[in-house]
Structures are given as structure tokens and as C-alpha cells.
Symmetry: C2
Subunit: 162 residues, 2 copies
């Protein structure tokens, strides 16, 4: 056979996990890292009497003014049903308040209160130090490049325009 046509490239070249190695598969590394980060976060928040959903909600509300509950669920990466229970507790403790949206009476917005802000001020150092631990020994330029890539990846895979 004297077929002179160049070989067809494979339709899609997917590396095999065995060749790649687990530690070159980005989702594996990110799940390992966030599994550890979130376990430490949960323990530290528990010592302050907070759950992860409550702490994440306070963190988001400290920087985003009055989001809709479904927006807050996306930012806090908490299921809406779990978030609703967390907001019930936070509202009961006077740390957030809920208000009907001015434009849509079926939609609810959430606001942090001054006591809520005070609680966030106590938990933020834990979050900032946890991030500092992650980046220990990693030069500033490398951190910045890493954040830049994370933003591109989030844009690539997010479902919500938030």
C-alpha cells in the first residue's frame, strides 16, 4: 500500500491518567487542597460557634451589598436549602436582615448588620491567615499569575454570570 496522504490526527487527544500522573491532574490537586482548607476552616469556625455556611455568608455579605438569596448561594458556594437555614439562624442572632426586593416582591435580599460585621471582623483574620499559609514561600508574581489563571478557569466553567 502506498497511501501518500498524511496520517489523520486523532479526533481528540486525551492524555491517560497513568501517563499524566495524579499530581498533574489539576482537579485532583484542587480537591486535595480545598478538602484540607475547608476542613481546617470548619474546625476554626466551630470554635467561634459558626458553621461554614454561616461564616461564608457573612464573608460575602461583608463585601457585597444586599444580594438576592440565589446570588448569595452562588457566591458562598452553598446549596440554597442549606443557605436558607443558615440565614434563619443568622437573622435570629441579629447578624443579617432580610428584605423584600423593591422591584420584585417575590425576591428577597440579604444585608449584613453592624453586629454581623463585628463577627466577620473576628473571623476574617482566620481566613486571611489560611490564605497566607497556602501561599507560604510562593513569590508575589507567582501568586498573581496563579490568581489570574483561577479567574480564567472560573470564567470557563461557571454557569452563572456572577
Amino acid at each position: 500500500m502506498t497511501d501518500q496522504s498524511p496520517p489523520e490526527p486523532p479526533p481528540e487527544t486525551l492524555p491517560r491518567l497513568g501517563e499524566l500522573g495524579l499530581s498533574n491532574f489539576a482537579p485532583y490537586l484542587m480537591n486535595r487542597i480545598m478538602g484540607r482548607y475547608n476542613a481546617s476552616f470548619r474546625e476554626e469556625m466551630a470554635e467561634m460557634g459558626l458553621t461554614t455556611p454561616k461564616a461564608r455568608a457573612l464573608a460575602v455579605l461583608s463585601v457585597i451589598e444586599g444580594p438576592l438569596i440565589r446570588e448569595l448561594a452562588v457566591y458562598a458556594v452553598v446549596e440554597q436549602s442549606t443557605l436558607s437555614r443558615a440565614l434563619d439562624q443568622l437573622a435570629g442572632e441579629g447578624l443579617v436582615r432580610r428584605a423584600t426586593d423593591a422591584a420584585d416582591s417575590r425576591a428577597t435580599r440579604v444585608f449584613i448588620t453592624e453586629p454581623g460585621r463585628a463577627v466577620f471582623e473576628r473571623l476574617w483574620p482566620h481566613m486571611a491567615q489560611a490564605q497566607a499559609r497556602m501561599f507560604r514561600g510562593i513569590p508575589e508574581a507567582e501568586r498573581a499569575a496563579f490568581l489570574g489563571t483561577l479567574k480564567k478557569i472560573l470564567t470557563n466553567i461557571r454557569k452563572h454570570e456572577l
Copy 2:
């Protein structure tokens, strides 16, 4: 006052979340990304009749030969109790087998079987394509640098020497 000594540096300079912005806080971005990745993965695995713990266990076992159960739990990022149930199911389906460690009769090692490998071969394209979606439009050199930073971060925060 003519104190000539240089000013003390602040004991620890932690940026505030409001200055940083949520989207410059790495754990936030990584939780957003992995929340989305893991939700898609769960849906795709469910269509194949697998749960996330079962799929992750098969993936790890396809590249790591006969780990101890506690090592598998670390690699698969699955709680040991959840992993034990997943292994019961996988063993019942003939996809893995468990064997007592030769050196320690109280320790159990887990091995993938040939049918288990065949199932992994069907699920790997989903995992590889999910990673490809994450990195869409991101140049190879940037991906490599990103992986390099992830490995440093895992070394910084992991508890296990694995």
C-alpha cells in the same frame, strides 16, 4: 522626640477582604471552581451509575497499586466511613478487591480488578474533558505554571505525607 530607630514593621499585615475583593481571594475562587466541577462530575457519574466516592476510588486505584484504605481516603479526598461504604459496593460489583496487608494483619489494601479498570476506562474521558474545559484558551506554559503552584500549595497545607 528624636527617636532614630527605624519604625517597627506591623506584626502581621493582613489585607482586608474589602480591599482585596472576593475575586482576589484564592480560596473563594477555588471553592467556586471545584463546586462547579464536582457538581458536573457528580451528574456525569450518576448517568453511568456511579457515585463520586466510587468514581474517585476507581480513578486513584487505576494509577496507585494496592494502597491502604487510609491512603486511598487521602488520595480520593473521601471520608473513611464514606469510602468504606463505596468499597463495599465496588467489591460487591467485582470492581475492586480487598486484601489483608502482608506486613500488618489489621491493615487492608485495595486493588482494582480488570472489570474495575474497564469501568475506569469509560469514566476517564469525562474527567479528561472536564479538565480540558477548565483550561480552554489557557496556553500550555500557563497551565504548567499553574500546576506547579498547585503542587507547592498542596505541600504547604497537606497534613499527610502523601
